[in-house]
Symmetry: C2
Subunit: 227 residues, 2 copies
Amino acid sequence: MTEIDTRLRILDAAESLFTRYGFEATTLRQITGAAEVNLAAVNYHFGSKEELIREVFRRRLTWLNQQRLQELDRLEAEAGGKPLKPSQILEAFFGVALKMAADADGGGRSFMRLLGRTYSKPSEFVRGFLAEEYAAVLARFKSALVRALPGVPGEEILWRFHFMLGAMSYAIAGTDALHIVAEDALDDSDAQALYARLMSFMLGGLRAPLPVLQAGSAKRPRAKAAA
Amino acid sequence: MTEIDTRLRILDAAESLFTRYGFEATTLRQITGAAEVNLAAVNYHFGSKEELIREVFRRRLTWLNQQRLQELDRLEAEAGGKPLKPSQILEAFFGVALKMAADADGGGRSFMRLLGRTYSKPSEFVRGFLAEEYAAVLARFKSALVRALPGVPGEEILWRFHFMLGAMSYAIAGTDALHIVAEDALDDSDAQALYARLMSFMLGGLRAPLPVLQAGSAKRPRAKAAA
DNA sequence: GTATAATTCATACAATCGTTTAAAACATAC
DNA sequence: GTATGTTTTAAACGATTGTATGAATTATAC
């Protein structure tokens, strides 16, 4: 077994187990057991459990965001200066993710579910890394959306982006609190239907009439307590 | 210190710590330390850590869902047989939750963030309990929405409800992956603005044009969706 | 008051955690 | 072949985990 082989086996096993049980509940012995490598291999190849977690994210997230930016680049080049349609922008961002989530073989599905749940529980030390990985991507997509939706202020775009991330996260995680999705079955037609459903929902929300905000709630430098 | 006092102190401390660190990462010693009670008090009053977790949820969730149903009852009684407006239904469901989330004193805020992240990570033994608590509520709200939106099939309603739960969860959890919300500051006007933003987004998504599903992806009888 | 039950307390338990170590096994270069 | 550097291995480390115990304390009933 070559070095790179061992590293990959650990990453794959960790990704899968993290998805199922979370970071803290997953032990190194589970991981090395599933990967069929020695217990000490994790600390030898990654240094620590925390670094392993970071690497599990980095491996897929970097690639995912590259794909997103690349797709956005392509669309904007095609449009030749004209604003894109909102649906195109959303497809560039969420389409890539959902395609990854639907890819059972590549293991991307497991990762996307892990990612979705991690957004809402940034475990201290992944938070900084996550924000860093997303900063550039978010900025690009925000400005594209601002151009595509002249009537919607930038801050509102950000919020709606946030909401859309939540919707996508739940869609992928497929929490069966609602008994809609079988935990581990998501075939091609299911994935396509889910994608279509999510996309129409998001577009509706993105283009919704602006909320009527109270006069007093204009953003001021935060410090105040409840009024 | 009376018995009920100790129980409450433990529940409050656990809720807060679970929110910050998650279930597994929170130790009984942290909880009893924060609650200023003896370590053995948890096992004495709750039997085990798992039962404590369940009780943390039960305490607030039961009340929350009662409020939701009560509010829906009130609206339907007022409407006297006529379908409600979608916005009214959403307000009954999400408004109560967001009001709870904005209530800093009552401690509901901490719980709502905990709940939001738990949806996407049903830790084996909370899953069943969670689904059970939600079954009746979901059924009521689904049928109300179906009546309110004659053009949208029931299955689509369920999916969109799922998406809305995700959006709300992220909104409350306030993951600062997007650097929008300060982790622990959400005053009254912020909460109101968030509520307005989320509501308009959701309504837009709920009333969006139906997705065009591929012909081949017609649902085969999968284990039935929640009745 | 005393007796009985409920609660708190300090302490200990076995189990499991992430990590470390030093030797064994393997690879590569000369 | 030997020598050198890398990877794997089995075993152990101290620390921390959830839980259990029995005595001390407090509350309740008589």
